[in-house]
Amino acid sequence: MTGNDVVSGTGVSPAEAPAEGGEVVLRLTDVVKTFPGVRALDGVQLEVRAGEVHCLLGQNGAGKSTLIKVLAGVHRPDSGHVEWRGEAVSFANPQAAMRSGIATIYQELDLVEDLSVAENAFLGHEPRRFGFIRRGHMASRTRQILGRLGHAEIPPNRMVRALPAAGKQVVSMARALSHEARLIIMDEPSAVLAHDEVENLFRIIRELTAQGIAVIYISHRLEEIREIGDRVTVLKDGRTTAANLPARETPTSDLVSRMTGRTIEYVFPDRPTESVVGDDLLQVDGLTRSGEFADVSLSVRAGEIVGIAGLVGSGRSEVLETIYGARTAEAGSVRMAGRALRPGSVGAAVKAGMGMAPEERKSQALLLGEPIYRNVTLATFSRYARFGFTDASRERAEADRIAENLEMRPRDVRRAVRTLSGGNQQKVVVGRWLLGDTKLLLLDEPTRGVDVGARAELYQVIRQLAAQGVGVLLVSSEVPEVLGLADRVLVMREGRVVRTAPAGELDEDTVLDLVMAGSLMEGAPA
């Protein structure tokens, strides 16, 4: 097998019990896929067995999503062989791949927002009789699948638009399950999920693999791969650099160096020894929006990083957006450097020096068809302009600096954002606010989909900004990130702040306990 050739050293043998059990269902040999100016896949080998969870690891832009799109029939490979259940295949379109038993959950959710949950789940293969869609039948089958996914509470006839991000993820999983799939591909499914949702996802994956279904799982979180994965294939610059490593035994340093070609101490930057924290920058008092959050008070001082931990739906993103003026507060006040901001006015917030990297990069932050540099400078282009005339070369230079700082790949800032990999798009969103004279950064899930190396860079950049006196308010589903990066942590649950403490006084378990709506914690100090 070609894949083994590239594996070197460190006791690598495909010795995992579950992997041994299943026969090889999918084998890719020397798959090449080029886009104009980019060799996204440059000779990929991959071998997947029935009943295993095969993890794909690789930096942002390594080619993971492109690879799975080749499998899903979205892209056609330029050359190479795909063997699926013993037959050489080339899928003409996604429907063909689905018919032959490959279902895919894409990195960027591909749901039709204005269709119902059931319609989305069965999109393209609605159960019919005499040409009419059997709505009742479709709804009951959807209900059944949702039950299997542990989300019986989602009504099949609810519009997808009305669901939170995690709910949409469940619908897209339901779509995968609505086919009789033998291979389910999941491209960073956990990026939008909270901790308990990830547990639920893993339970489902275990159920699937127990039925002999193969799963290809992509994630940048190594601890997830340790937990759910059987074998790991590592991609770097479109090539397989290691195949079929045992997911649990392979040392982290090994995985990271195969991914990046170097070693990364992906730890958080040190907190400054002497306190650089300055005056009060942001002061929020009694902020309330009914149904979202109530009576939230917090403060951020210049040079301070404040983290908000909480589940999806705990109101943390809504608080951030309300502070920024993207939502209008019903009660309470937001003050920047002592001056009250007009509620519901993003313009006022930006003028006062705020910047926000929103949670959903595609719908809330990016102009997909526009070049990288115009996306990076979307909030600052008028500052570089003279007499209303934009200064494209200055903008490109500034964007280029950001691209270098955040290890954007490819580095050409004139490329359309649409052609970037998910993690690189995320860097564009965050990079936007690293320009200009932002005094307070509101970051909502800034590292969603960003690889370990770039993540460390991003932490460094955030810490440096803080050292220069910028205040940072950070929301993240990843508790270690909040604890590692922030100076002070707020824990939110069901729209209320349940705990505020210096990061040093909290540990992961304590935060997780606080975050979960456990009855044990009902009496927790507010």
Partner: protein, 368 residues
């Protein structure tokens, strides 16, 4: 290729036919291939669409030459005919520039024809004409901007759907124009105004200069200014624009005002051409302008488009009208052909993006 069974053998070197890739065309042109870098201003896709439109124009020229070889054998006549085509295109052309901004900004303006009529009628009332040419021009432009501001306010702050708001304005503005003019044709007595349509500079009609100036200003505004950048952002992703601190509502308002301004300018040009104004003037200009914008490759959903494409769209329509006129054919047949052209132009663009661009790309990959 398309109707192949779901599973087929992979040819050793299968051609990259890939629908998802078509989206990436802009990215490729923008990918910094040095010799193509002049495309950046207008966007790589736009430049290629425009080349296709120029091809259509050439084809129309050839058809003209084939059907009326007697006329086309005379170079002087050909030159004069080209100028008359441009003159024909000038009024709608000015309206189309404003329409392009509105559509790139994610809206639509159905009231442009009505605004032209209202501005034309208002500037030719006896009272206005008493202020002379300056007063008439001022009035037409102010009326245009004012109506645009009303549109913009309804849409940006009243949250009306652009289609509905401007449809209502279409009806209302024509009604007001009929009211002001008492349904009479108002003759323009002002020789300066009338002279705008009959003056030539260096052998080229003044109307064509006005069109050129408006197009040039529109191009600079769209591609080189913060206003243009905001327009693309607001049309491409209004939520992203808002969260980046852009005042989306104010900008939307300004876009409709800009369209109104263009209508005001067009009203003067059209009044000069007819030496009169009436409530029914500029009938169905909204359709001509929207069709030209679409043919020009601007996305109806907003966020992307070019001024040059829109201009070419207008010129193509004017050329067709001219072609029918010199062949003595009916306007009914002409409208049918125009409808066909709209469909054909869109189809050509799709074909161009599907297979043709793949073809070029493959050739470039192998040569580079």
């Amino acid at each position: 290729m398309t109707d192949s069974p779901p599973t087929t053998k992979l040819p050793a070197q299968s051609p990259p036919v890939d629908p998802a890739e078509t989206e990436a065309v802009g990215g490729r042109a923008a990918a910094g291939v040095g010799r193509l870098s002049w495309w950046h201003g207008d966007g790589g896709e736009g430049a290629k669409r425009n080349l296709a439109l120029i091809g259509v124009l050439l084809a129309l020229f050839v058809i003209g030459a084939a059907t009326r070889s007697d006329l086309y054998s005379n170079p002087d006549w050909v030159w004069a005919n080209m100028l008359s085509i441009l003159k024909l295109a000038s009024v709608v052309g000015v309206v189309t520039v404003g329409m392009t901004f509105v559509i790139i900004g994610g809206g639509i303006d159905l009231s442009v024809g009505a605004i032209v009529a209202l501005a034309g009628v208002w500037c030719t009332t006896v009272a206005t004409q008493s202020f002379g040419a300056g007063g008439m021009i001022f009035t037409a432009i102010i009326v245009g901007i004012a109506v645009g501001l009303v549109n913009g306010t309804l849409i940006a702050y009243g949250r009306l759907v652009p289609f509905i708001a401007t449809l209502a304005m279409l009806v209302a503005a024509r009604g007001l124009a009929a009211e002001i003019s008492q349904k009479q044709t108002q003759i323009s007595q002002n020789s300066t105004i009338n002279g705008i349509a009959s003056t030539d500079l260096l052998g080229i009609p003044l109307l064509v200069y006005i069109l050129a100036a408006v197009v040039a200003a529109g191009w600079v505004l769209l591609n080189r200014t913060t206003f243009g950048r905001r327009t693309v952002a607001v049309g491409g992703n209004p939520e992203a624009a808002r969260l980046a601190g852009i005042n989306v509502r104010l900008h939307t308002l300004l876009l409709y005002a800009l369209s109104g301004l263009c209508c005001g300018i067009a009203a003067i040009m059209l009044t000069a051409q007819a030496t009169s104004a009436q409530a029914a003037m500029a009938n169905l200009y909204e359709l001509d302008a929207i069709a030209a914008v679409i043919i020009g490759g601007t996305l109806l959903s907003g966020g992307r488009g070019t001024i040059v494409g829109s201009l070419l769209g207008v010129i193509i329509f004017a050329t067709i009208t001219n072609l029918f006129a010199i062949n003595g054919l009916s306007t009914e047949a002409q409208n049918m052909v125009k409808g066909g052209i709209i469909v054909a132009a869109v189809l050509i663009q799709q074909i161009q993006f599907g297979s043709l661009s793949q073809f070029f790309r493959r050739n470039r990959l192998t040569t580079s």
